[in-house]
Symmetry: C2
Subunit: 405 residues, 2 copies
């Protein structure tokens, strides 16, 4: 019996460690062939399969795979429609499964990808197929339900907190007033922006304000706080989620679009939240203001990966295979935290229907009463996830990756 | 006899290693007190001095200092006017030197800071002062003359090349057309953008085009090349210096300003080069286009510092002290490369007048005939500078720094 595994959605630093976990556990449990689907379910529909037993045939490759950002197998954004709307696609998928004698289907991804697993396992039930479908969660956004946290979050959080510490140093050197606005990914959930709070410590005063999409943002409130902070301290670093919203529900960055409209060629502006806010700071306060977007660096900086995250990503992949081997289908492997200190997390499985298409935001009680910082409860939750380092394999001075071609 | 050392100009990852080198060598050669000036010459004028013998009183602190980005002592952008224009400032400086019994003055900085050293040593000659003034170069821009390269460049180059490798992975996962434009610092000299070329290797196809300020950039030429590349490859990563220029000498980003003008509130737009080019790609080619500015991260990412760079920064600081002890003044310590393979570099001193206010750009013969890549000569020059890692001291999962307060 053979196995297939795919990766889907946005990349993280840990998604290849989950692939390593699925592959090695499947081999250990006796799978004949472990196929990888290229570019997720979209590639599977075109029979774009590779043989991982060939591609990952020694332990050095596995170690490099764990240290390689993004998706070794490629990814896709293909969302399966319901079987009633597009049964042809389902028939195609199950014919490919049969053709390659595949009994186990593993899909590593976020909530959209979990929806794919949910739909395929439901369809398997309907047609009496014995193929088992198990989801492996991943996302830097940490917004999946039913799991304590998601693989990929810890490494992205470690990059964000490390970078914030470095930026606090960088911005503090001049005896001048300045505001630096750092934009972190997260449209609806502020988990990754919240990681900025980890920068504070004995050797760092931390960032000065943190704004998440979970609480409404007002320009007046922002400038009131900013002016008050500037009376105490000359150089401020402020972390904002890309998705911070006004009380009326519009994104703050929409203010930029409406302020700027289109350029003289009729092109839409691309201004983001930080760029808009920094521009407002410069204009209103007449001080030096800089916008920094961490952009995709925050999801691919494998050179500063969290060892805890990478090890857990591997375990959650292996756990999915164990669950399937035990006969489970239509589930996803998840983390159940048993203690903060010493930190301990078990891998279990939960019904995939409870995860697919759901979104978990930062609990409001973890945001402080001023709505510009995180509480100690958040810090106790997040700190264990960034512990330890997976030192890159350096070659010619640069981290070495494993690539298909 | 006492010593004073200051830091000036923009921060780098290596400037504190030079401070450590100055401090330890001064102590070794018998200096009674080593003062640090806070916020460079501007702070010195206000007698803002700290005693480094107290602040750096154990080897653990020195090790942390070497791993701390930006300027431990703070920085300034104060440019000394000529003595004929503002002799009061000179008199004040020499009175502070006398008051604190300072015989040696070390200033770590870029070409503006070297100008300060040049002016002060000339003034000392004029008034018959015995105080010796020696410059210690630093800048991520690598644009100082008389030295093979500058401390700070190697670490910034390592960050840029590492990040480009990670971005190449990140952008390649979807089976879709996309262009990612990455903006690297450098207004007139493209050295740091050139480091993108280091990403290419057995495990990475590298970035697809590199544009430096040294050669003129045309929008038509850019889009012709882009269209040709997109026929061979779906996801492109392009590195551009912030300072790339049109044939008429205007910065490319000025096209953005003229296209966008001011917003409806009369605010000036902040759009950078990458943002402008990505917008043009999206609009002209109707494909996914993303702009990434490495921003100040490229000058403060000490967590991925080059060991070669940090060790050399230390040596160039120590070398400045040795030169002063030998009676030299009005000089700067520099690197003289003796071999590429195995790499070897000596620390010597050169007349500061030849360095101050000069700018060294990338030799045109190191830019390939297509004007969008670097030659093997550049790679052979740059590769030794990014070798080795200075592993951070991690505490609570994050790199630990040394801070004055």
């Amino acid at each position: 019996m053979n196995v297939v595994v795919g990766q889907s959605g946005g990349p993280t630093v840990a998604i290849n460690a989950s692939l390593a976990g699925v592959f090695e556990e499947a081999v250990r449990l006796g799978a004949e062939k472990v196929y990888g689907m290229q570019n997720g379910i979209a590639g599977f529909l075109q029979e774009k399969l590779v043989e991982l037993n060939d591609l990952l045939d020694d332990s050095e490759k596995i170690e490099l795979l764990k240290r390689t950002p993004a998706c070794f197998l490629g990814s896709c954004r293909h969302k399966l429609k319901g079987a009633e709307q597009n049964e042809e696609e389902y028939k195609k998928i199950f014919s490919v499964l049969e053709k390659y004698d595949i009994g186990y289907f593993f899909y590593i991804g976020g909530n959209d990808s979990m929806d794919t697993v949910a739909k395929l396992s439901a369809y398997a039930n309907k047609i009496g197929s014995k193929v088992r479908f198990v989801g492996v969660p991943k996302t830097i956004d940490n917004d999946l339900t039913e799991t304590d946290h998601t693989p990929g979050y810890g490494s992205a959080a470690k990059f964000v907190a490390t970078t914030m510490k470095e930026l606090v140093r960088d911005t503090s050197i001049y005896d001048l007033y300045s505001v630096t606005i750092v934009e972190v990914m997260g449209r609806n959930a502020g988990w990754l922006t919240a990681a900025s709070a980890l920068a504070k410590g004995e050797d760092c005063c931390g960032v000065d304000m943190i704004f998440l999409p979970e609480t409404p943002f007002t320009m007046d409130g922002f400038f009131q706080k900013l002016s008050a902070k500037l009376k105490e301290k000359k150089s401020l670093v402020i972390a904002v989620s890309e998705g911070i919203k006004l009380p009326d529900g519009r994104y703050v960055c929409e203010l930029a679009s409406s302020a700027q409209g289109e350029d003289v060629f009729g092109h839409k502006q691309l201004t983001g939240t930080a760029l808009f806010l920094a521009g407002e700071c410069a204009n209103r306060l007449k001080i030096k203001a800089r916008a920094i977007e961490l952009s995709t660096l925050q999801r691919c900086a494998s050179h500063i990966a969290s060892l805890t995250d990478i090890e857990e990503a591997y375990r959650v992949g292996a756990g999915a295979v164990q669950a399937a081997a035990e006969g489970k289908s239509g589930v996803a492997s998840v983390f159940i935290r048993t203690a903060n200190e010493p930190y301990s997390c078990a891998v279990e499985v939960r019904e995939i229907d409870k995860i697919a298409n759901q979104e978990k935001t930062v609990p409001l009680e973890w945001i402080d009463t001023e709505k510009d910082d995180l509480t100690e409860e958040y810090l106790a939750y997040a700190r264990p996830l960034i512990q330890g380092e997976l030192t890159p394999v350096f070659e010619n001075g640069l981290p070495k990756h494993l690539c298909m071609k």
